[in-house]
Subunit: 320 residues, 2 copies
């Protein structure tokens, strides 16, 4: 079969001819119909993950066929028994385990969920990693409630967009930040109330003026800008973050946090229950992931280049 | 009646002859039998709170008699309807509202709770502010469960000691930090498993070696040492903090927090429901607040001096 494997670090994955995966015990052989790209895939090519195995098939997100039924694959393997945190055996599909950038994948049936009817193959493939990460962060960890005010930082990334869509589905007022006016305009066209350029030091004042503050914040950056997130919190607010691309949090004022009963919640990926609940939520609210571009399987390396440019708005997906 | 009032900033409170408080509507006239000191009282004399009113009676903690029954006073006034955070009208008893360092206090009956039978008057007076602050921080916010491992930083302060006692009552293993070997020894005599001098940069390694990490941390300091608290967290850990005496949190590594699904929870005081649940918990587990010293009413200024020295272990209480 054809597959994109990690042959060398600091290079794009290479199209490789591999033997068909072996299937035994509870494993099912899935013929992949679509897959999608994540920042994780880029970081793996840069050697920025532990347990990187050269020669493994890349790709965490995918959906495919088994006996005439199409399934979404949960890429969170071996979460373990505790809903509060993943086990030491936890890992994400696609290096070191063979992933979704291939014709076929052999995977335990417990990771297969029937594709909701309202989604096409490529839309379904866009869902898994970003969908479950956003769901745990905003629904399970931050316990978002209908009618609350929400800020999503760095709109345009997969997790940020999914979190925005969940919040809009729940009838929340959503505000966003971005480095790009274009991305803010696109978020507003999808239902966001307003957006702010995060390079503008006055954005918190503008948000406070527009919204009076927010109940829930979803962030993937941290860094020095984290203090501005605290400034726009209403009493009882929850800040849930799933990444730290802007680095360490500096100069955090404890009085602003404890006096206003704020919660700062670290969140990563999601449990099997989170994944199932996410699929049910997406099904119930007929949520369609935002897709930046649909490329053919053979253009997977071009997808990597596009994601590295940082110009995407939504997921980059591959039609197999 | 006799009362200690705030006559000038940057001075100890002065014994003053006041008219008896007026009583009307739902207010009850309580004859105070005991009161207790908090750091808040010191900070008020230094002008470090908003809405300081010269001439007001000081003191947040107290218990007293009404119609032959002894009551503990909830010092958290006007919390409001939302359990998650206090209303803008919320304030703590004792400046600007007349407080407990007096012969009598006039207070709304909703703030009165029958004194548990196992406590003396001075023990009951030691409970309110520290008791409810610790209860909300460790039980309501951090959701401490039986058998978990707990770290209490800065043992010796009222809130830290109450949190330790709640955790021991629930059958948790409790570890402490302090700047003083003596305070660590006292905590161990009360049931703590082990303690560490927080000036020792290797204390996290020692705790990890002894306990393998902790599920819940209660902190009132924050500052640069906060990173060491994160280091000793087990996956899914909750750090609940009620103060920031060591200043801003610097250099917080987001990866350590989100990957381990850690929650950082600001907490202050407690709601009416928190206070009632705290009294019920103290009653159920027959918890007796740790008392550093019992002074006569006339020695209230000496109590201030002792608390300013930082050498106390437990509450400084006044027998009226």
């Amino acid at each position: 079969m054809k597959a994109y494997t990690l042959t060398h670090l600091h290079q794009l994955p290479e199209l490789t001819d591999l033997e068909m995966p072996t299937v035994k015990d509870d494993l099912a052989l899935i013929q992949l119909t679509a897959s999608a790209l994540n920042h994780r895939d880029i970081w793996i090519t840069k050697g920025l993950y532990p347990n990187i195995m050269l020669g493994a098939v890349m790709g965490a997100d995918g959906c495919g066929m088994l006996n005439g039924q199409e399934y979404i694959i949960n890429p969170g393997l071996a979460w373990g028994r505790n809903e509060s945190f993943q086990s030491p055996e936890f890992r994400v599909l696609g290096v070191p385990d063979d992933g979704t950038f291939a014709d076929f994948i052999s995977i335990d049936r417990t990771y297969l969920y029937p594709k909701p009817d309202h989604l096409t193959s490529v839309q379904a493939a866009a869902l898994p990693l970003a969908g479950v990460t956003a769901f745990r962060a905003i629904i399970k960890r931050a316990q978002l409630k209908t009618g609350e005010k929400v800020l999503i930082s760095g709109i345009g990334g997969g997790v940020a967009l999914m979190a925005m869509q969940y919040a809009i589905a729940l009838g929340c007022e959503v505000f966003v930040t971005s480095g790009s006016d274009l991305k803010i305009a696109e978020a507003i066209s999808l239902g966001a109330k307003a957006g702010y350029i995060y390079h503008d030091p006055d954005w918190p004042k503008k948000l406070l003026s527009d919204a009076g503050g927010v109940d829930v914040i979803i962030d993937g950056a941290c860094g020095a800008g984290f203090n501005q997130l605290v400034k726009v919190c209403l009493p009882g607010a929850r800040i849930s973050f799933y990444g730290g691309t802007a680095g360490k949090i500096e100069g955090l004022n404890p009085q602003l946090i404890f006096w206003r009963q704020i919660s700062i919640l670290g969140s990563t990926m999601g449990s099997d229950a989170d994944f199932k609940d996410m699929i049910d939520f997406v099904d119930k609210y007929r949520i369609v992931p935002v897709i930046d571009s649909i490329l053919p399987f053979e253009a997977i390396p071009d997808g990597f280049k596009k994601l590295m440019s940082g110009e995407q708005f939504g997921k980059i997906v591959f039609q197999h």
